[in-house]
Structure formats: structure tokens, C-alpha cells
Amino acid sequence: MPSTPVSTEALLAVRGLSLAIQKTGPGRPRQVPAVTDLGFAIKPGETLALVGESGCGKSLSALALMRLLPPAIRITAGQVRFQGRELLDLPEAAMRELRGRGMAMIFQEPATSLNPVLTVGAQIGEVLLRHAALEGRNLDGRAVRERVEALLRQVGIADPARRLDEYPFQFSGGMKQRVMIAIALAAEPQLLIADEPTTALDVTVQAQILDLLAKLQAERGMAMLLITHDLGIVARMAHRVGVMYAGQLVELASREAFFQAPAHPYSQALFAALPEAVARGQRLKALAGQVPALAAMPAACRFAARCERRQPVCETEAPGLMPVGDEGGVRCHFPGPRPGSAAVEILPVPLPALPVAARPLLEIEALKVHFPIRKGFLQRVCGHVRAVDGVSLELSPGRTLALVGESGCGKTTVAKALMQLLPRSGGEVRWQGTLIEAKDKRQIQALRRKMQMVFQDPFASLNPRMRVGDILLEGMLALGVAASAEAGRPACVALLEQVGMKAEALERYPHEFSGGQRQRIAIARALAVAPQLLLCDEPTSALDVSVQAQILNLLRDLQAELKVAYLFITHNFAVVEYLAQEVAVMYLGRVVEQGPVEQVLTAPAHPYTEALLSAVPRISGGRPILRLQGETPSPAHPPEGCHFHPRCPKALEQCRNAYPPLRPLPGGVQVACHLAC
């Protein structure tokens, strides 16, 4: 039985591709399979999306197609046919001709994909010259320049004649990704491999880049292999979808089939873990456990240990990729819709709605954090970056306020200023009515027991050289919650249990844990001093969807159990919808809209909120699209008048002149917009 259905007129056909990591180091060299028996085909003009969580082998597979694998990873079996040629047998010289002209690739991180010491024009021109030489054409400098200009115009860069002489640092993130796309398109490839092309970008910019890719693909009839972890992007871009899990393709289907009725239990679990798919107040359906390690991959079904539909046969026999329809397939012994037929199972326990307390826990009034810009020999101050410029917020006990905005809007700075990690430049902070003086060390120390922080990156927030036990104890000892390490130990065990981990973790080092487990440890560390308020700085943005669901559930359970309040910083509206009662939207250091979540998310009053909401790619279609032009300006030089007016599609004359005050609207919403009243 062929492992994959392959269409005859496919541009690219992959069959039985297997990759292995060559392990050296102490002990005998061995091979660890990274990708096993991968097979799919892409027709001209078609987009295939490869979806999967980190470490499932999707990026490695893309690199293998380009034959750009790092030396430690070998192709152990399989065929890759491109335009009828077998790529794996080609000599390297022929492969080099093919890269760029046959297939081109764009990468996740535009900031590191461009050479910082060459102008953008030179980097695009390099590709043009190389491929012109291959075709035997002779391009002179002017012809190259014209072609580069045309390319930059195509990818939507204004004033290309001037900008092609600029260096990458003069471009913003989204612009750099456009340049990367221009480089990829320079030799007119028939297949574009896009490896998480928008993961490093903000939602509004992501929407622009996705539009651009879709437009270019339609114009050129180019095939695309899109690698992503975001089902929303898949829904927006793909014709067909391949789902990968632990180095295997577990499901291959058309977009319609995939989104209507995913057949593999893992695909279903991915959908169920999405916060947006769940009605507010319900628990997310998180996958238990974690992906098996590459070195200890079960010989039978790799998903069996986490699967709800597991039968004895799943643990003894590996399922093949059973064909479904013409070109689909599913690697499961018992494929089909989820028992109970509903795509998402809703647990019967809604979370209790919490009453609003009379007295707020924390009040922030006109908080300002300005960073001086220094220049010259004597370091004179010549300006300020207004990272936070007059933010007022109110948090109630046991409730969640979400602070939303794109990168650089100052939301993390608010949290750091509250924790006294950054000095405030102005404004007042009150804890239960008491004014907190930034200079008063004792008051600050006392506040640190009531307010703690969970950081974004679980890989950077735990000291790699300390044991988990010591990490948990640190705060207790510093704030006098525990008198000694011995006295704090039982509390540590209880904390670990509270966040769903075992006591044996105490003696281990952080690197032995997965991202989700590390984030649990980080949450336990913050909870160690029994705070009443937790500042969560994008705690799930570095995690995979299924792990994110576990952490979000954990946070909800902890709130219900401990009555702790959250200030939840995020850029993900789905998470806001799932977790928060109130939301504040920030733009360039100021709050532009705030109010109850239901109100703000369903009927946004500020054009920026509206644009943000419409830019989020969703699996269930939805709102009318309001596209923003350009990117967030620098907070060192905010635009005159309303900060948002240069990007605002509805801007009026008065928006250019005066910053609108925050005005109350009916329904408890406050908005800073001239148009909203």
C-alpha cells in the first residue's frame, strides 16, 4: 500500500521521507529519527499548510526539501520529486541552481535573515545576478536596479527607488519580512516555502503579510508550502492541510474537510484547545501529557498515550496513513469525528462569576515611565522614549484585567513599573487605598508579597543552574514567608501539587522540563509568597496551543481556588476572551479603550481595537475586515495629535491636532477617540 496518495500532475511530490538526527557526544554515536515516513504532494498554484506544534519536525522537513539540513541531520529514506526530477539524487551544483528558481524559502525571523551590513538592494540584486548568470543572461547595474525596484514595489514597499539603498536596520519587522519575500520571489520560483512567516510579527502586520502572500500567489500561480502552528492562518491561507505530530504526518485533508470534520484525534484536540472555540466561562479541553521525546518514540501509535480513543491495538500496532477521499489521509486506527459529534466538547462546570468588590485592589493613576535618550560624550539627555505615558487602570480582587496591544505599546513596561523593576516617571499607585511611595523600601517589600509576576519566556525565567526547589524557595526566603530552607520545603511540595507537578521535581534542574512544565514552575514560584495579584506577562505566548490550554486552565483554576486577581498582558484576543472580565487596549504608551470584555470585543468603539480584532486570523471566519496601513511608530517620536491618526482609516482633521481624552461610553466602556462621541 502506498504510504501517501500522490497526484500525477504534482509540482512537488514527497514520498516516505525520513530524517534522523546523528547523535554524537559521550557514548556511542546513534541515530534518533526526527521525521518518519512523510508524504505529500503540492500542485501548481496550491497552498499546502503543514501544521504542528514545536518540535514535530515541520521546519526540518522544509529544510530537507531544500536540501539545507544542518550536518547533524541526515535523510535516511524517501523520495522528493520536483517537476519530475528526483531532488535527493541531484548533485549539489544542480541543487543550487534549483534553489531560488525552482523553490525559494522565507524564514520565521526577518531580523536575522538579512545581512545587516549590506543594503537591501544589494541583497535582492545578488539573487537576480546569480540566476541571470545561470540563464546565460547578462544584467547590467541599471537593469538590476529596475528589477529590484519593481520587486520592492510588488511586495508593497513605498518609495522603492530610495529604500533599496537603505540598510536592514532602517526597516521595521514587517518591512524586513517584505524584503525577504522580495528576495524569495526574485528568481520567480514555482514553489515558495514559508516557514512561520508571520510568527515574529504583530497581528496587524501579520494580516498585511498574509494578504501580500495570497495576492502574489494568485498573480503568479505559485505553489506554496506554508509552515505554521496557527490554525487561524491555515484557515485563511491553505487549500490543503497536513497535520504533523511527533515527526509523522497524522492527517492530510482539504481545508474544507479539515475544518468541518477533522478525522485524527490529535487534530480534534488542537481545535478543542483553542480558547476562541470555547464559550466564555467554560474550561478548555487541554491535551493531557506531552509529546514523547524523539529518543523514546513508541513503536506503535505515537499519539496513543494522550489519546481519548485509545484501544489496546493502538499500543501494539503502528497505524499507517489510511487514504481518505482522493488526496487525503489519516494515520489512526479509529479515525472519524469525535464521539459525541460536537467538534468541541463543553464541560458542564462553568466558572463562577465573581462579584465586583466595592474597593479596588490596585489603582493606577496616570502612570508614566519615560526612558531618557542620551547622546554625546557627556551623556546629555536629549529626549525621552515615552514607553508608558499616562495609564490609569483599576483592578478588583479575584478578577482579571487583560492589557492588550502590539509589541512596543508599553504593556510589559506597565507591569515592570508596578513591580518596581523600572522606576516610575510619574503617576500614583494605590494598594487597597494606600498610596505606594516608590522610595519607601519597606512599603515596596511589603507590596512584593501581595503582588507577583509571571514572565513571558519560561526558558529565560528560570535560572538554569538552580534546582527547582531552590527556585521556589528564593522568594519565600527573601520575603520572610519561610524562615529557612527546611521550613519552606513542605510549602514547595504543596505548591508543585497545586500547579499539577510532582514533588520529585524539586531536586531537578529547569532544563529537564518542557516549556509548559517550566511555566508551571514559574507560576508556582510567583504563588509561593501567596500574592493577591499576579501580573502575567504573556505567559502563554511562547507555548504551543495544547500547552497554552493547559496553562490557561491552570490559571483559571487557581483564580477560582485562591481568589487571586490577574493583570494579564497579552496580544492574543482569544486568550482575553477566554480569561478576562475586563480589558484595556494600549497603543503607543496610552490606553485607547477599556471596559468589560463582552462589550469591547463585540462592539469595539476605537478604530484600533476594531482593526486589531479583525486582523486576528480566525478559524471561524467572522468580522468585517479593517486593514491597517504601516506599523506602530516609535514611542520616542509619537505622532502629533491622536497617536493613531496616521494609520487610522477614519481619521479626521481634528485627530491631527489634539489627543482625544478618555471618555466614558454607556456600558462601562471608556474610549479615547474623537469619533466615538
Partner: protein
């Protein structure tokens, strides 16, 4: 009445103190860092290089136990008088090598001098190569038998080395087998395939290498100059062994001076920023922009004047040379901390923004504790690498400084003075290569094993590398 008087030189004290500190630290941390130490013990390369380094250290330490011999009482003298020359235990062991000096250059294993002289023969004065006083003296008239003699001794000592090694290996196997209750054959296989918890394989390999090289050397050294002699006829093998101590002192004592400065100033600048950072940066920028050799020359010459004007401080020439060596170490330390401090400042700047340090600050953990628990352990790999790199460059710096005349005391034997003396002879035809080659090989082995060992230490103390 003792037949010798012990002499304590400053660098002796420091060297032994450093050893004591090292051992003490190892014992104190044995419990908390058990995993790291056992990881280190498992590493074959680490254990092999550690064995080589211990051999170097042993030579250096033997050379750091100094004494003055009691002179035979002169007639009519009642007081006990000690000789003015300070000797070390190593000198005592190598008395023969030290005392058997020739007139000038002779090649390794030579029986005749390297330079022509006018020889008195019955037929009248002839230009020729005179016989050496000691090299190959036992051969008498039969100089032609030299090759055979050398090979015979090589063979005999080779066999002896092999037998000794076999004995060692067998003893070890028997010991381990008894402790673990396994058969001898199994134990040996486990050792050989590197499956023991402690990498005995590395130790055995290094010991085998040492035996195979130094047993023949020892057997030859009695009757030949194995590595030739230098301009004044001194045995080069003896010089090389004596240089080891100087290299160790320069490398280790300088480090002792430089390390606290670099670590404290680097971390303070990087972690606290502000005016402290400005001040420290200005200091090291100024220090760096003065040519290093000039600064060191000025300091060493001032020190020399001080030494020369206070002869009453020193009982012997060795004490004077020793103070100069110590001064050189301190001066080198004071000028060489900038590089490491700058590295540490940069890394601290990066680390202080990391989230785990932010988290600690959010708990109100004191700065001293953050530096001790979070910053320092994560900077250690840089410190270890920089130390080893500095060790080799310091040994080389000593050579350069000795060349300019501001290095160690001219009477002190060091790799630097050896290289410096040999330098002039490289241009001569036929070339005198053995001094330089001997210094090069010993220095190379010393620095290379220190490098490999430091790599292994760094890896062993990083919990992420398993």
C-alpha cells in the same frame, strides 16, 4: 642539628596555599556539586589531562620546597653555617643533571661539543670537536657504540615501562574487581571501554604515556644530555623541568591577583550600571590605552630599584629573584584584568535583563544574593575559559618580557629565558634547535592539557549538558 635549613619563599607559600584552597574547595563542594564532579570523573579526556597536569604540578611543587644545605664546618668554626645557594627538593633529586655541565652547546645524545676548538694532539694543535666531559663519558674510547647503547637502554626501559604499566593496570583491575565483586575480565573490559563511573581509562592512558616517555629519559639522563646543553653547557632537560615551576607561578599567582579584580569590577559595572559603570569603564579604558609593556617596564624597573636599594632584606639571591617574580605576577595581574572584566561586564549587562534575574528582583532579593546565586554561576564558564586562555598568554608574556629585560630575574630559569636564549641561536648555521624545541614541547603539552581540562570542567559544571 639539622643538615639543612628550610627556606620559605613568597611564591612557595602562595603556590602551596593555592593548592590547599583548591583541595579545600573541592572537598567543601564535594557534596553539593557531587553530580558535576562525577560527570568530570567520567570524562576520559578530563582524567587523562588531569593526570598530565598532576605530573606537572608534582614537579612544580617539588621545586617549591626550598632549603639551604649546611656547609661542612670549617676548621675552628663553631657556628653552624648554611650555604648561600637555595636549593629545592627537585634540585636535590636532579643533582647529577644540575652539576654535570659541559663547556657550551652540545646536541642531544652527543658525545662531543657542538663547537670546534683547537685540540692538542700529539701531532700538534688541530681544529676539531672536543669530547664532552659527561655526555657519553661511560663509553670511553668507543664512541661508535653510542647508538647501540642508546637503543639498548630505550628497549630496556620500554619493556620496564610496559611491565610497570601492566602491573598498575592489573593492580587497579584487581582492586576494582574486589570492590564491585565482578570478575577480573569483566572489570578490565569495563575499564577499557570507558564504562566505569570514574574514567580509569584516561588515567591509565596518560600514565602509560608518561612512563613510556620519562622512564627512558631517566635511564639516559645519567650518562647523556638527553635534550642537549645550552650556551653555558647546562643540561636542557634540567632547565625544562625547572621552568615548570616558574610557568605555574606566573600562571596561577597572576590569576590569583587578576581574578578578584576582574570578577568584582566586571560584575559591579555590568549589574549596577550608573556611575560605578562609568568609573570602571574609564579606569580600564585608560589602563588599556597605555601600552602594556611600558606600564609593566615602569613598574618592574621601579621594583628593581627598590630591591637593589634594600639588599638587607634578602638573605640569598634566590629570595631576591623570588620577590621579583612575585612583583612581576602582581604587575601582570594589575594590567591584565581589563580583558576579562570587559567580557564579564558585557555578559552581566545581558544577564541582568533576563527574566530570572527580574523575577528575583521582583521578590526583593538583595543584590549581593542575586550576584552570588544567579549572576556568578552563569558567568563561570566565561571565567574558566578566560583563565585558561590567560594562563597560556601569561606564560608567553613572561617570555616576551624576559626578552625586553623586564621579566623574571636573569638567574631564574623559565620558559621565557630559555626561549630568549635560544632565539639568538636560530640564526646560526648549523642551527641550535634543542633548547627551543624542548621549551616548546613542554609548554605546548602544559597549555594544551590545561585547555582540554578546562573545557571538560566547564561542561561538567553546566547542568544543561548531560
Amino acid at each position: 642539628m639539622m643538615s639543612f635549613q628550610p627556606v620559605l619563599l613568597w611564591t612557595d607559600v602562595l603556590l602551596w596555599l593555592l593548592l590547599g584552597c583548591g583541595v579545600g574547595l573541592g572537598i567543601v563542594s564535594a557534596h553539593t556539586l557531587r553530580q558535576a564532579w562525577s560527570r568530570l570523573g567520567k570524562n576520559t579526556v578530563a582524567m587523562a589531562t588531569a593526570t598530565l597536569l598532576s605530573a606537572f604540578l608534582l614537579v612544580g611543587l617539588l621545586d617549591s620546597l626550598h632549603y639551604r644545605e649546611r656547609l661542612p664546618p670549617a676548621p675552628g668554626e663553631v657556628r653552624v653555617v648554611y650555604g648561600v645557594e637555595v636549593r629545592s627538593v627537585l634540585d636535590g633529586l636532579l643533582r647529577q643533571l644540575r652539576e654535570q655541565s659541559e663547556k657550551t652547546y652540545s646536541a642531544p645524545f652527543a658525545t662531543r661539543l657542538y663547537a670546534k676548538e683547537t685540540l692538542e694532539t700529539p701531532a700538534g694543535p688541530v681544529q676539531g670537536y672536543p669530547r664532552l666531559k659527561y655526555g657519553g663519558a661511560h663509553l670511553g674510547e668507543h664512541e661508535a657504540k653510542r647508538d647501540k647503547d642508546v637503543l639498548q637502554r630505550a628497549f630496556a626501559s620500554g619493556v620496564l615501562a610496559f611491565l610497570l604499566w601492566l602491573g598498575l593496570a592489573a593492580g587497579l583491575t584487581a582492586l576494582l574487581a574486589r570492590r564491585q565483586g565482578a570478575s577480573h575480565h569483566e572489570t578490565w573490559q569495563a575499564i577499557w571501554q570507558g564504562e566505569t563511573a570514574f574514567a580509569w581509562r584516561g588515567v591509565l592512558l596518560a600514565l602509560g604515556g608518561l612512563l613510556l616517555v620519562f622512564l627512558p629519559m631517566a635511564l639516559w639522563a645519567g650518562d647523556y644530555h638527553v635534550l642537549g646543553t645550552d650556551k653555558v653547557g647546562q643540561d636542557v632537560f634540567y632547565q625544562v623541568l625547572k621552568s615548570i615551576r616558574t610557568a605555574l607561578v606566573i600562571g596561577l599567582v597572576t590569576t590569583l591577583v587578576m581574578l578578584p579584580l576582574a570578577v568584582v569590577l566586571g560584575i559591579v559595572a555590568g549589574y549596577f550600571r550608573g556611575w560605578a559603570d562609568d568609573l570602571i569603564q574609564y579606569v580600564y579604558t585608560v589602563l588599556n590605552s597605555i601600552p602594556g609593556v611600558l606600564l609593566i617596564a615602569a613598574a618592574v624597573l621601579m621594583m628593581q630599584v627598590l630591591i637593589d636599594t634594600h639588599p638587607q632584606w634578602f638573605a640569598t639571591a634566590a629570595e631576591r629573584a623570588d620577590l621579583r617574580l612575585l612583583a612581576l605576577c602582581v604587575i601582570l595581574g594589575m594590567t591584565s584584568w581589563t580583558g576579562l572584566a570587559r567580557l564579564l561586564r558585557g555578559e552581566s549587562l545581558k544577564l541582568r535583563e533576563l527574566e530570572y534575574i527580574q523575577a528575583a528582583r521582583a521578590f526583593g532579593v538583595s543584590s549581593a544574593r542575586i550576584i552570588g546565586r544567579h549572576l556568578l554561576p552563569n558567568l563561570m564558564h566565561i571565567v574558566v575559559i578566560a583563565l585558561v586562555m590567560d594562563f597560556s598568554s601569561l606564560v608567553l608574556a613572561e617570555a616576551v618580557l624576559s626578552y625586553v629585560g623586564i621579566g623574571v630575574d636573569p638567574s631564574m630559569i623559565s620558559f621565557g629565558t630559555m626561549i630568549n636564549n635560544a632565539r639568538m641561536e636560530l640564526g646560526r648555521e648549523p642551527v641550535v634547535w634543542w633548547s627551543l624545541a624542548a621549551a616548546f614541547v613542554f609548554m605546548f603539552v602544559l597549555v594544551l592539557s590545561a585547555n582540554l581540562f578546562a573545557d571538560a570542567v566547564r561542561d561538567a559544571f553546566d547542568p544543561r549538558l548531560d
